[in-house]
Symmetry: C2
Subunit: 281 residues, 2 copies
């Protein structure tokens, strides 16, 4: 695995790989690599001849008072995990170079960014679209891999890629979970032992909603209400519970193929999100 | 010259040209081709092995009540002029395909977009950055050519390219003028004969400011004031007259190398812009 920090070197290595007719797979991350990231890497390696991973904690997607400063940073361990997973190239841009003081450009995706996370974290998806757009232009991959755990992020980026005609295929990879169902997330590291136990109620409630949908429940409001009360009974503070269409992030009138149930909760000071597909497409 | 409307065909032709080691030069236009556009084409042909031109009247960069509907469209004549000038590829996207009904993404460049044209035409530069960003991703040129007449547009696009790391070099080409100094513009076609005579006062006043700068005048306010009164005396309605730095579009405290004087005026119903470099960089 070659580690690069500078765009010219990055581009040279990508050019070389492409000259060897290797398809370029790209996994953008904020580091604190876990099994969820490694599932993306495995998928990229299975589909592409050359796998690039970036690690960059993107200040633009954190709001004031959010966890930008304390977001886990552990490059040496991340680097070891990625190398062991067969990554070809690790790109770790320097924040001051990535966003120089006069940086002034933003990419915004209306509509799909508005609800859910976007409503609670204003500017978050503008930060995501801007950093991913820039990373796409720097790395110029053929395929990019994202975790389905960040459902709305995937929807925002799909819309960006389609609208601006990035010559890149987006692949959403199924969420990887702990044995008790908790979705893998770098933020799980914040949880104290008791909070960690409580946190399992998030996926448990979402899977219970899926079971009710499988048994025929098609009313989004009922599913949301039941899920919310289960989360609250487990002592979780609910930011939102929403049945959404995974492509548009609109709430369907009735649960239909492609509908997911998504939720954000707080456990102590830690904010967790998760979603589960209610009906297969 | 091959004319294409669809992105897959466009990309295939660009890929073939690149496989032949030809540098891709790109001239995005809104059509109504005049000598100003042809100067961009000549420059592209001198520097690149393959010259692509797009013609697309971009609805996003027109405000309500502006001239989107009546903007001149004359594809057959444009096509002939471009072919005679040695253009290799003409890309004429279909508006409904370019902006499908659910199109929702925008690219915005803060700061440099705010004053001048941006202040008078809200959303104009967001429309410009969005269309050019998308065209850049569709065409993927090595070099792109823009007319210096649209000084602020060049500044906005330079900042976008730098911020998002488009792997594209931007070249600004000197304004081409009619014998009486009027900058070439597709909108000159709107001018009635008497208005056409009046319009010459715009460049005349800007060149007079340059002469005063050459004679030592360094006070932006004085230059602006004198230029404004000359424009008004000639019967032109002044939207703005501003001394600006061509890179930042900020007004310098004193005229310095790289300072330009830019103005927008209305002659009857027609709005014209122009600018002149006050001191060589």
């Amino acid at each position: 695995m070659i580690t690069v920090h500078e765009v010219p070197t990055l581009r040279e290595l990508i050019r070389e790989a492409r000259a060897q007719n290797r398809t370029i797979g790209f996994v953008p991350t904020m580091g604190a690599i876990h099994e969820g990231h490694l599932a993306l890497v495995r998928r990229a390696r299975a589909e592409c001849g050359f796998t690039a991973v970036s690690i960059f904690v993107n200040p633009l997607q954190f709001g004031p008072g959010e966890d930008y400063q304390r977001y886990p940073r552990r490059l040496p361990e991340d680097s070891r995990l990625l190398e062991e997973s067969g990554v070809d190239l690790l790109y770790t841009p320097d924040a001051a170079q990535f966003y120089p003081p006069d940086f002034a450009t933003s990419v915004e995706v209306a509509g799909v960014s508005d609800g859910g996370e976007g409503a609670i974290r204003p500017g978050h998806f503008r930060g995501v679209a801007t950093v991913v757009g820039k990373l796409f232009l720097q790395v110029s991959p053929d395929v990019a891999y994202f975790g389905r755990k960040d459902l709305q992020q995937v929807a925002v980026l799909r819309q960006m890629v389609r609208d601006l005609d990035f010559p890149i295929r987006l692949v959403a990879v199924e969420t990887v979970r702990e044995p008790d169902g908790l979705a893998m997330s770098s933020r799980n590291a914040y949880l104290a032992p008791l909070e960690r136990q409580q946190a399992a109620a998030l996926s448990r409630a979402l899977f219970a909603a899926r079971d009710r949908a499988a048994q025929g429940e098609r009313d989004p409001e009922k599913l949301e209400r039941q899920t919310r009360s289960e989360l609250e009974e487990a002592g979780l503070a609910v930011d939102y519970v929403e049945v959404v269409d995974g492509a548009t992030m609109h709430r369907p009138a009735r649960v239909q193929p492609g509908s997911s149930i998504a939720a954000a909760v707080r456990v102590g000071k830690t904010r967790l999100i998760d979603n589960v597909l209610l009906l297969e497409e």
